[in-house]
């Protein structure tokens, strides 16, 4: 059984307020509930986390460690909740955001969680799509703010770079390239059986532009075009080809040795992630806040 989030919240509340009773008040529940839960938590983990005394409670060293790990878990959970809240709100919100998949999945949740701290009442409606559609949304007034990747700039939109990432070539651990010593050449990459996002996505545009700039004899002719990062990962894992994905999307897979990165020579796969809004309108209010969160967090 996994440790449940509510118990972790209670542990943090005790750490912060210095007593079980104060923690209970801060969580708007009764003190015996916290007492009970903490006891079961300690029994469940097999650790003694809290030192009780008649004048309050402090965490044991082990409790401090667990509390620190718990903060990570709850922060990830906050990001999920922030993302979900943004997805749910469809029209009744102050700020409509249209974001590319990469930004929406890997960066926006953190920004939204930060925004929630700074101005808790801002409601955000999130639409996930590819970079081209996001630009169209903003241009047509269907969104107040957009986040896109890739080299394109669109007339009628202002842009501000909020982050940088790079595309990564990945293969399954069994693939011949996973044991390569030398970096790939431009030609090898262009000729590879690539598994990539569809045209119009920032990921694809970045790849195509980079190949052209590097002097490839032709743009990539992908073996597979898929609409989500998860689909691409799955295809790569089953040995269907060579994947091209944002570094954000594969950090954990590289760490967990589920995917291998293949180095590439002479091709610049870095790209800028930009916030965009309509020229003419000045960036203000909630939109400005969110962009500030994005800039600060990178």
């Amino acid at each position: 059984m996994r440790t449940d989030l509510r118990s972790l919240e209670m542990l943090l509340a005790v750490a912060e307020h210095g007593s079980i009773g104060a923690a209970a008040r801060s969580l708007d529940i009764q003190q015996p509930s916290v007492t009970d839960r903490l006891q079961r938590l300690e029994r469940h983990l097999g650790l003694s986390l809290v030192e009780r005394s008649p004048r309050g409670s402090r965490l044991t060293p082990e409790g401090v460690a667990v509390a620190d790990w718990a903060r990570e878990v709850l922060s990830a959970s906050d990001q999920l909740e922030a993302g979900v809240a943004a997805l749910r709100r469809s029209h009744d919100s102050q700020l409509r955001v249209s974001a590319s998949l990469t930004v929406a999945e890997y960066l926006l949740p953190r920004w939204l969680a930060d925004l929630r701290l700074r101005s808790p009442d801002t409601g955000v409606a999130l639409r996930m799509c590819n970079s081209e559609q996001a630009a169209q949304d903003v241009l047509h007034g269907d969104a107040d703010l957009g986040f896109i990747e890739g080299p394109r700039t669109t007339r009628g939109l202002h842009a501000r770079v909020v982050a940088v990432d790079d595309l990564v070539i990945v293969v399954a651990p069994g693939h011949a390239w996973s044991r390569r010593r030398r970096p790939l050449t431009v030609t090898e990459l262009a000729d590879a059986p690539l598994i990539v996002r569809e045209k119009g996505s920032g990921t694809r545009d970045t790849l195509d532009h980079a190949l052209v700039r590097a002097g490839a004899h032709r743009t990539a002719t992908p073996r597979l075009e898929l609409g989500s990062t998860a689909a691409i990962k799955a295809a790569v894992l089953t040995g269907q080809g060579v994947g091209v994905l944002s570094r954000f999307a594969i950090i954990d897979d590289i760490r967990g040795a589920r995917l291998r990165e293949v180095a590439v020579d002479e091709v610049d796969l870095r790209r800028r992630l930009r916030a965009i809004w309509r020229s003419g309108t000045h960036l203000a209010g909630p939109a400005a806040e969110l962009v500030a969160c994005a800039v600060q967090s990178s």
Copy 2:
């Protein structure tokens, strides 16, 4: 109410196995349980996550996004569980690890989670202490492997650098230095009312050495010496002085604008994090595996 972890696991299982029934089997529960929980999850979030059909189930685009965020949450939870498991095992384990606070809190959980993937049966016993004590533990045979920070090297121990971080000077947002333009000088830093870890900790040793190397007229005379990162953060927040902490420890606080980083000139606050083991013994088995995880993850 926060979304509970079990529901997130089920969502991921459905994404992975392509059907609700298969997900149930993979989790060793009955299919109606999964059906029921997914329905309640969708109602709870106000989103439609799964597209059911008589031939299986696929995630909707929104479901894919939520699933990606869920992976983050569960990964953090895995790290917590791995850390707790290591803390709990006291004597019956194959690998006794003694680690400095910084490493134990911020890096080890990830390594342990990776180790669990690579060799699930390895039991790790974790002792958290400062760098000096960790070295003593390994030297005396009380631990098979140690992780330390700071400049010291100890006779009789082999070491391998597994990561690098740097110390950061932080102040509360209201502090005068939070609006500083120019970096601090060596003298300003040495004269500041510092809040630091105790002597013998890698954090403190690194600071003292760095000041000497930078030509400070004296080593720091701290206003407060505290034994944990959380205590230092709390002291800084209440305006009691200037904190010195590992970057790992304050990333989230900087992002959330709870603390401000103050730049320093001419002082090299980088430090190496090292794995250590007894000279003579060759690094092998579980210990070698864990070091490999550490090296790979950085």
